[in-house]
Amino acid sequence: MIEGQKHRNGRRARLAAFGVGLALALALAAVAPPALAQDADAQRAEFLSLYQQILKNPTNVELTLRYARLGAQIGDYEASVSALERLLMYNPNLPTAEIELGLLYARLKSYTMARVYLEQAAAAPNASPEIRARAQDALAKVDRLSSPHQFAGEVELGVQYQSNANQTPGAAVPAPPGFTLPSIPFTRQHDGDVFLNAAGIYRYDLGNAESDTLEATGTLYESAFFRDSHLDLGIAEITLGPRLTLDRIGIEHATLRPYLMGTYVTLNNNSLLWGGGAGIELAKTFGWGTLARLFYEHEERGYFKSSFDPLATQLNGNVDVVRLTASQPIWDFSTLDLLLRYVHEKTRFSFDTNNQYRIQASYSIRYGGLLDPPGVARPWETVLEVGHDWTPYDAANPAINPFVKRSDRSWFFGASEFLHVNKWLAAGIGIERQITSSNLGNFSFNNTTATFSVKASF
C-alpha cells in the first residue's frame, strides 16, 4: 500500500516536473514571436512602401539606402543588391557601396563576386583607411571561406557532478518467483568527472557544377571520474561520405549523403566495443528556414571481453537507427530542435535485443542583459530540453525474471545557461535530470547531473 502510494507520488512528481519544463519551454517559445511577428510585418510593409517611393523618386539616396538595409534585414538580398548597384550607376566611385556589395555577396556565398567588389573597394583612390582595412579583412575571410577545404567544430571541456554516477537502482532488486538473487555489488554512488565533448566536420568541395562535397565528421567524448575510474567512458565516432545535392533531380535545397561510419567505445580505460557500418542521410532546408535531416544507419557491433565484464560478447550484434531531426530558427535569436528516433539493437540473445523510441525537443534563445561582454550581441543563451525514451526488450531474461520482458521508460530534463564571451568562446552551467523507470526494478534509477563547461566553436 505504502509502496503503491510512493510509486504514485513519484509518478506525479515526474509528471509535474515534465509539465513545468514543457510549460517553460513553450512559454518562452510562444511569448516572444507574436510581438516579433508584428515587427516583421511592419518591416515588410515599410520595405514595400519604400519601393513605391523609390519608383516615384529613384535618385533619392536616403530612400535607396534604407531600402537596401531593410532588404538585407528581411532576407530580400536581391533588393539590397539592386539598390547598391544602382548607386554605382549614379557614381562609380563609391567604395562604401562596393564594400557593402562585396560583403553581401560573401554572405550569399558568391565568393568570386565578393572578391571582385572587395578588391575594387580596397583599390579605390577615394577609399578611406577604414574602408581599405575592412575590405582587406573581408578579403582574407573570403579567401578562407572560398577554399575547397572547410572545417568547423565545437569543443566542450568541463566538470560535472552526477548524483548517481554508477546509475544503480535506489531500491532493492525484486526477486522473481523461484529465484534467489545475490545482493547487487554496486551501491548508488555520486561522483564528479572531467569531460571533453568534441565534434568536428571537414568538407571538401569537389568543384563540380552541382556543388557536391566530400564530408568527414568526427566525434569524441572522454570522461575521467574523480573517485571511481571504473566509470571512465570514452566514445569516438567517425563518418565519411560524399554529400550530393539533389537539385539535379528537381529537389531543391536538399542533399543526400551516403557514408561509412566507425565507432569505438572504452569503459574503465579498456576497449568496450567497436562498431562499423554505413548510413545514409537526406537533408533538406525548407523555405521557412527549417533544416530537416533524416538518417538511416546500420552498424555491426562487437564487444570486448574484460575482467570487468567477461560475458560482454553476448551483446555482439548490430544496430539499426532511423533518426529524424528538425531545426527551426525562430527569428535570428532562437532555435527549436526536435528529434524523433528509433533504434533497434539486435544482440545474440533476445533478452538483450531491444527497440528504443525517443522523442526529444530543445529550445535555445539568445538575448542580451546585464554584464554583456563588449562586441557580442545577445551574449546570453538559455537552452531547455525535454526528452522521453521507451525501450521495450524482445524477451524476458531468465536470469532476472523469466516471466517479465524488460521495458524501460526514461524522461530527460535539462536546462543550461551559457555566456558567449565572444563569437568563438562560451562558458556555462547546466543541470540535467534523468528519471528512468523499468518494470524490472534493478534497471530503474534517477540521476541528476550538474555541469560547468567552457565551449569553443570554430
Partner: protein, 277 residues
C-alpha cells in the same frame, strides 16, 4: 440620352478603365531608376524617345543604348534589369499580381550586356525569361549577368540565387552554382557550367558602373554613404561557418548517459547470471 450625358458617361468609363491596373493602352511595367545617355526607348506604335530618369517603361517597349548608354529599369515587382552599353532589348511581356506575387516577365535581348536582379516574380518557377537569338534564359530567384554577342551567342553568369537555366534547340542546362557561368554558342549549343573567370566578371561589372551621373542630380558621394551606418558588418561572413556547424554530429549527452547506463547497470545482471548458472 443627351450628347452631354453620353460624353460624361464615356469619359467616366475611360477614366475607370485607365484606373484599373494593367488596363491602360500602354501598360507601365516599371520606371527607369538610372539612365546614362544615350539610351532610347521605343514604345509600341510610337516614335523613338530619349529615356531619362524616372520615365515610365511600357509593355513591348524597346530599349537601346549607345556605347556610353546605360539604363536601370525598376519593375513593379521589384525586379531590376540593367541594360549595359551597346545593348538592345524589348520587354515582351509583364504581368504581375501584387496580391499573389505571381505573373510573368519576358524580354528579348538581341545584343549587349544585361544584369537581372530578381524581384517577386522570379521567386516562382518559369516566371522570368530572357530570349536571346540563340537560346532562352530562365531566371529563378537569382541575380544574373547575361552577355549577348553580335553573333547571337553569349554567356550567362549566376551571381546569386537558386537557379538560372539555358534552353535552346541544343538542349537545356541548369546553372545552380554561384559565380559560375554557361556559354551559349551562336547555333544554340550550350556549354557545360564552369567557374566564372574573375577578370571577365570584373570587366563586365565595369560596364554597369555609371558612365555619367545616371540621372541623379546631384549624384551620391562617398561622403554621403560613408557617414551612414554600415549595411552589413563584415563579421556576418562568419555566419557562413555556422551553416557548416549545423552538420556536426555532436554526441547528445542523453545518449552518453544511455551508453553509461547500458554498461554500468549491466554488471549486476552478469553477476546474477553467473550465480544462477
Amino acid at each position: 440620352m443627351s450628347a452631354r450625358r453620353i460624353a460624361i458617361t464615356a469619359c467616366t468609363a475611360v477614366s475607370l478603365l485607365l484606373a484599373l491596373p494593367g488596363a491602360g493602352l500602354s501598360q507601365t511595367v516599371g520606371v527607369t531608376g538610372a539612365v546614362n545617355p544615350s539610351t532610347s526607348g521605343t514604345p509600341p506604335g510610337a516614335t523613338v524617345r530619349e529615356l531619362g530618369i524616372g520615365n515610365d517603361v511600357v509593355f513591348n517597349e524597346r530599349i537601346a543604348t549607345t556605347a556610353t548608354g546605360q539604363a536601370d529599369i525598376l519593375f513593379l515587382d521589384r525586379s531590376a534589369l540593367t541594360v549595359g552599353p551597346n545593348s538592345d532589348l524589348v520587354i515582351d511581356e509583364f504581368v504581375y499580381s501584387p496580391d499573389t506575387g505571381t505573373g510573368k516577365l519576358a524580354a528579348s535581348a538581341t545584343k549587349g550586356v544585361f544584369r537581372f536582379v530578381g524581384g517577386a516574380l522570379s521567386k516562382n518557377p518559369d516566371s522570368v525569361s530572357i530570349k536571346t537569338p540563340a537560346a532562352i534564359v530562365g531566371v529563378r530567384g537569382a541575380v544574373v549577368l547575361l552577355v549577348v554577342n553580335a553573333n547571337g551567342g553569349g554567356t550567362l553568369y549566376l551571381l546569386y540565387g537558386d537557379q538560372a537555366s539555358v534552353s535552346s534547340a541544343g538542349g537545356h542546362v541548369d546553372l545552380r552554382r554561384r559565380s559560375w557561368a554557361i556559354d551559349i554558342g551562336p547555333d544554340g549549343s550550350i556549354g557545360n557550367p564552369h567557374p566564372a573567370d574573375p577578370a571577365a566578371l570584373q570587366a563586365l561589372l565595369a560596364l554597369f558602373k555609371g558612365t555619367g551621373n545616371g540621372g541623379a542630380s546631384p549624384p551620391p558621394t562617398e561622403q554621403n554613404l560613408a557617414g551612414g551606418p554600415a549595411l552589413f558588418i563584415d563579421d556576418d561572413i562568419d555566419a557562413n561557418q555556422i551553416d557548416l556547424r549545423n552538420y556536426l554530429r555532436s554526441l547528445d549527452k542523453f545518449d552518453i548517459y544511455l551508453i553509461e547506463k547500458l554498461h554500468k547497470t549491466r554488471q549486476p545482471v552478469i553477476v546474477i547470471c553467473r550465480d544462477c548458472g
